[in-house]
């Protein structure tokens, strides 16, 4: 009788303690509004990866728990989400979409950590790519697990095959697109002085419906390749208009692999459209071990969109290792350990968290949209096949960050 009661008490106590003890990560992304899909797919994929990490023991014998907060892609909403996370003592803050959101959160986290040193938080992103965040705005409390737009421009330029001598640059007309334009031009001069920019254009975001006039202009310029930072409908419509007019160029894009674009491009994009990717199902199948293959197969069986966030696995593993090594979830200790930490991802490539600016050096891939793959993208019959792999250290760019580390 006594034993039985003891067991009940222990079990009840144990359960309570476990729930209390989970390591919470607060994810704030757009969960409603026009960009809800991004946020929802982000959180579903993160949950899927964390489940897999938890099944192998989590960190410090505790499991990871994902708590999501909607920010509607608004910096002000993200700050409210941050306050809510702080109120609930969540030590790890995570956001992806929107560099403006990230900039606001960096400021918010800096202020909070200075004001309340006993309940500090660590903030990381896997989606905000403005170079400023790890340069002028760099913070000890902020870590970035995605390349910058400057690195994107470099990757696209270096992926141009040697026979290409004329390129056309086309980018959205705001801060991001202007940076893409500036950096692409810079890297063309650095890596491919033999290549001439046949055209250099900025287009209003989301306003152009008929791209055929741009296509006529690109054709007249004699360009063999197009480098574009366009995304969403601006990218789909551009490629559609180009393939329809029989424009003979290769499309070097940053975002053609993301939600809905493969569907809109369709079979006409076969072996013409290139995209930058951190992960795709086919690379996992070709290079991955059994565990990774299993992860991908199970994902495809249970989700109806591409497993494009697969690389977050390595990010979570770095966090897991840092917590393990720090022996605590105290953000200050974890941040200290995370600085300069390295690990290998499931494809065998190195990830390193650069100490001087907290910018990750991670592998990245250039893929081509082709029929010649095992796993297709968005049921189009075509999928992404890696044609070029960059190691993290190949992509290291200098930083202007002057990191202020806490005194203790």
């Amino acid at each position: 009788m006594f034993r039985c009661m003891l067991a009940v008490i222990l079990v009840a106590f144990g359960a309570a303690a476990r729930a209390e003890d989970s390591i919470r990560i607060g994810l704030t992304d757009p969960m409603s509004g026009a960009f809800a899909q991004t946020g929802q797919q982000n959180s579903q994929q993160a949950q899927y990866l964390l489940d897999s990490i938890n099944s192998k023991g989590g960190a410090l014998g505790r499991t990871f728990e994902l708590v999501t907060y909607d920010n509607k892609l608004q910096p002000s909403e993200a700050l409210i989400a941050l306050q809510s996370m702080v109120d609930h003592n969540i030590p790890f803050v995570w956001s992806n979409a929107g560099s403006n959101v990230a900039a606001a959160l960096i400021d918010g986290v800096e202020k909070h950590n200075a004001r309340d040193p006993d309940h500090r938080v660590l903030y990381f992103t896997a989606g905000s790519t403005a170079p400023e965040l790890t340069n002028e705005k760099c913070s000890f409390w902020f870590f970035r697990f995605v390349p910058t737009t400057e690195q994107f421009a470099e990757m696209l330029v270096r992926a141009l095959p040697p026979e290409v001598k004329k390129v056309y640059l086309l980018n959205p007309d705001y801060l991001y697109g202007q940076a893409m334009q500036r950096d692409s031009t810079k890297f063309l001069a650095q890596y491919r002085p033999d290549v001439q920019a046949a055209g250099n254009e900025l287009i209003p975001v989301g306003k152009v419906k008929d791209f055929s006039s741009y296509i006529a202009k690109i054709k007249a310029s004699g360009a063999q390749a197009l480098i574009t930072g366009n995304f969403g409908p601006d990218l789909s419509l551009l490629i559609k208009a180009g393939t329809e007019a029989g424009l003979d160029v290769s499309y070097y894009t940053v975002w053609a692999g993301t939600g809905g674009t493969p569907t809109a491009i369709g079979p006409a994009g076969n072996s013409r459209v290139f995209a930058l990717q951190a992960f795709n199902d086919n690379m996992a199948d070709e290079q991955g071990d059994a565990a990774l293959k299993d992860l991908v197969t199970r994902f495809r069986a249970t989700h109806d969109y591409d497993f494009d966030a697969g690389s977050w696995r390595a990010m979570f593993e770095l966090l897991q290792a840092a917590i393990q090594k720090a022996g605590s979830t105290d953000p200050a200790k974890v941040a200290q350990v995370l600085e300069g930490m390295t690990s290998r991802d499931m494809l065998g490539h190195e990830w390193a968290m650069r100490a001087e600016d907290h910018q990750v050096l991670m592998p990245y891939y250039v893929s081509v949209f082709t029929k010649d793959v095992k796993y297709d993208s968005e049921h189009t019959g075509l999928g992404w096949k890696v044609i070029k792999t960059y190691e993290g250290k190949d992509l290291a760019l200098p930083t202007t960050c002057k990191m202020k580390r806490p005194a203790t």
Partner: protein, 315 residues
């Protein structure tokens, strides 16, 4: 020369696509005095209906059925919604269609999801019709031109050569007189609204696979159609037609002509230096502001000729 010819073709095509969308709106606007904010939503529904029908029974069935469905929807909206709102004046009508546009967008998001659907050009029309200096012109683009030209002719004949057209025209200018002659004006309104909705649906069927079928398509197409209607003038199909073509050409040539106001001034012998007032604005090349030119033209038109290009009345 080569670029010019291709651009004329592109401008013509885009203009005709705009006309397909705007003709229905201008009919409704001119006859009922209602600026139907949900018009582009019917265009979107036309595209989604066509996608659903064409993947089951084929594109050609969709070409007929989807506009009819939109027309039916339009009749229901007019009879059970707009007519009730009408009693409370134009503002109520405006707000009603405005709200409807949001509801349609949400419904589309719920049913078809937030990303583009694979609505494609039918294989029968997916070939190159001819080439102009190496730029392919697909059969589908020819088809769009054909359909929109046929549509223009049909509406024109209907309005000017048939009894029904006379009644509609008369309801536009003298609704009370038409009613006292024994015509059922509310039914004329319903017919016109349904007809306009069907035209929007047809534009959706044609434009949905030429462009991209996604939930944002209504809100991205809405403003430019509004511009065409206002620019062309209320109650004028011909004005709407000309305005559509002008907007098509303006947007196409704005992209191709890589000049800025500063370049034009330079030709006139005025050099723009950083010290010149508004130098930043004057140096912006035309392609960067191309999509905004129609709005600029509309504002200009409203200032100098509020009734629009071929408008018949000022309200």
């Amino acid at each position: 020369m080569e670029l010019l010819l291709v651009s004329v073709l592109n401008g013509l095509l885009y203009g005709m696509l705009l006309f397909m969308l705007a003709s229905g709106l201008t009919l409704i606007f001119s006859i009922m005095g209602v600026l139907n904010f949900a018009h582009a939503s019917l265009y979107m529904l036309g595209a989604y209906f066509a996608y659903e029908i064409s993947r089951r029974v084929g594109f050609w069935v969709a070409l007929v059925i989807a506009p009819l469905l939109c027309g039916l929807l339009g009749a229901l909206i007019e009879t059970y919604g707009l007519r009730k709102a009408h009693r409370h004046g134009h503002v109520a009508e405006l707000l009603f269609t405005f709200g409807l546009a949001f509801i349609v967008e949400k419904l589309v998001l719920m049913v078809w999801g937030p990303t583009a659907v694979p609505y494609r050009v039918p294989p029968e029309l997916d070939f190159t019709l001819f080439s102009v200096y190496g730029t392919h012109v697909s059969a589908y683009r020819g088809f769009i031109l054909l359909i929109s030209a046929a549509m223009f002719a049909a509406i024109w004949l209907l309005l000017t050569r048939t009894r029904m057209g006379f009644v509609i025209q008369a309801s536009l200018s003298h609704p009370d007189m038409v009613a006292s002659l024994g015509h059922n004006v509310p039914r004329v309104f319903t017919t016109v609204f349904a007809g306009g909705a069907a035209l929007a649906g047809l534009a959706g069927v044609i434009g949905g696979n030429y462009l991209v079928t996604e939930p944002a398509m209504a809100f991205s197409m809405g403003p430019i159609v509004f511009v065409v209607v206002v620019f062309g003038g209320l109650g004028s199909l011909a004005g709407c037609f000309i305005a559509s073509l002008i907007m098509g050409f303006v947007q196409t040539f704005a992209v191709v002509l890589d000049i800025s106001p500063a370049d034009l001034l330079a030709r006139l012998g005025v050099a723009v230096t950083p010290a010149t007032p508004l130098a930043e604005v004057l140096r912006v090349p035309l392609p960067r502001i191309g999509p905004f030119l129609p709005f600029l033209l509309m504002v200009f038109m409203l200032l100098v000729r509020p009734r629009g290009l071929l408008g018949t009345r000022d309200t």
